[in-house]
Amino acid sequence: MEDTTILWLFLLGKIVLFFSVVFGMVAPIMIWVERRVAGLVQDRYGPNRVGPFGLLQSLADGIKLVLKEALIPQGVRNPYYLLAPVLAVVPAALSFAVIPFGPPTTLGGMFETPQRLQIANLNVGLIFVMTVTSLSVYSVALAGWASNNKFSVMGALRASAQMISYELAAGLAIVSVILLSGSVDLVRIVETQAGLWHIFPGFLAFLVFLPAIYAETNRTPFDLPEAEAELVVGYHTEYSGIKFGLFFLSEYSIMTTVSSTAVLLFFGGWNLLPGLSWADIGIDIQNTILGTLMAVSWFAAKVAFFLFLFVWVRWTLPRFRYDQLMGLGWKTLLPLAIFNILIIAGFMVFA
């Protein structure tokens, strides 16, 4: 058995790594990617003044947000107004506790038994991710209602109704993946995709899951609740400065979480290719540091592709009208997800 101090240091290292990478690096890089890709799609330059290729733009924006006056508009309901951004960031941060970003590894002999690259080794990790996503509804509802602004209330109600509708479809798509892999532990789910990724039998599940996660994070084409033309940014109109920054941060963090979940559930996590594993090309991902780093980078590349997909879809597709949105969630995706469970169950029994 290991020396417990090494295990505690490893845990601390994982926590520091996760939080510095996700909150410190992914969010600013995603903001830069978003604005440059927006420019590319719209045939113009994105930010290119601040630093080479505009890379320091996110840093400048962050400094601006922090230094802005912490304005509290008159007439807002005070404890809830200040609580809402906190309630947005806490679930976003909490969901990273169960996402594994690499295979169980001994890190080149530092540990005797392979240790997981997850902060919290929950048996029910996947259900925890679903739980935490459904907790992010509170921040939206409270932010809108506390803002003393009719447009914010409408935006908040629409956004939260949309989120809870699409949670159901996402949950049912996840159920079919649980059927295919026989476990809710995220590392086990990746291990069962060593031969065939779950996207192949579960293509319909992925087709249901992807729009559902776009709607969960209120991204286009489902971003009517925060549409600038219609609702003046919706539920976070009255937030400025670092409070708005926290909402923004939580949106990008949840995007990263659901992208990681999509990769872990459907695209094999850190497995190399659908038929080819790392061991086939001679790389030992469990026992060597180089192998582990390659597996982690491959996983990060897949997550980065999904994040880019979020941005690409945002600047390509027009947004749905609200009744079209709700109709899609309840009348199309939910029956499709249920039908998909039947198909997957049939596949499991007869094949």
């Binding site: 809830y80 929950l122 048996n123 029910v124 259900i127 925890f128 679903m130 739980t131 459904s134 907790l135 509804v137 509170y138 509802a141 409270l142 209602w145 209330v153 109600l157 939260s160 809870i164 809710v184």
Partner: protein, 180 residues
Amino acid sequence: MMDLAFYLVAGLMLLSAGLVAYRPKPLESALWLILHFFLTSTLYVFLGADFVAVVQLLVYAGAIVVLFTFVILLLNLNPQEISGGESLRWTSTVLFLCALGAVLFCLHIASPSLLEKMPAAGPSFGSIEAFSRMMIQNYSWSFEIAGLLLLLAVVGVGLLAYRRPSHRKPKDLENKREAA
């Protein structure tokens, strides 16, 4: 050390329950209820029932209290509606506290074996496999009827909350335009 953690969680549970039951505004009650459910989930983790803990969060804190929050925000009651006349009647509180004390006393004198530490749980206690095996093998009828109950609840709520859209006749609009 873990015992201290249990006492802390149990004390906070009782405190947050008191806050839920005695705050005048229903929105504050709902938010303290979320905290109470988080603490309950922690208690279940202490007992080793992981799956149950996560489901508690998912269903109670993530769906039922969201429902409460929506209705409270939608109804948008006047503050007078909520806090007017909420006088605490201490008699019922005192009565229940006496009942609590009586039960404690009975527990102490009735069976000293109740005060021993609990036996260690089995190896697969609280796992999703053990739970689902028990449910599908022994309680499959109840499971199906629970599904039927949920369907009935959905249909019932749809029927109860449905409001026929009011059709405004074009005649009324013309009258308004002339009057304005």
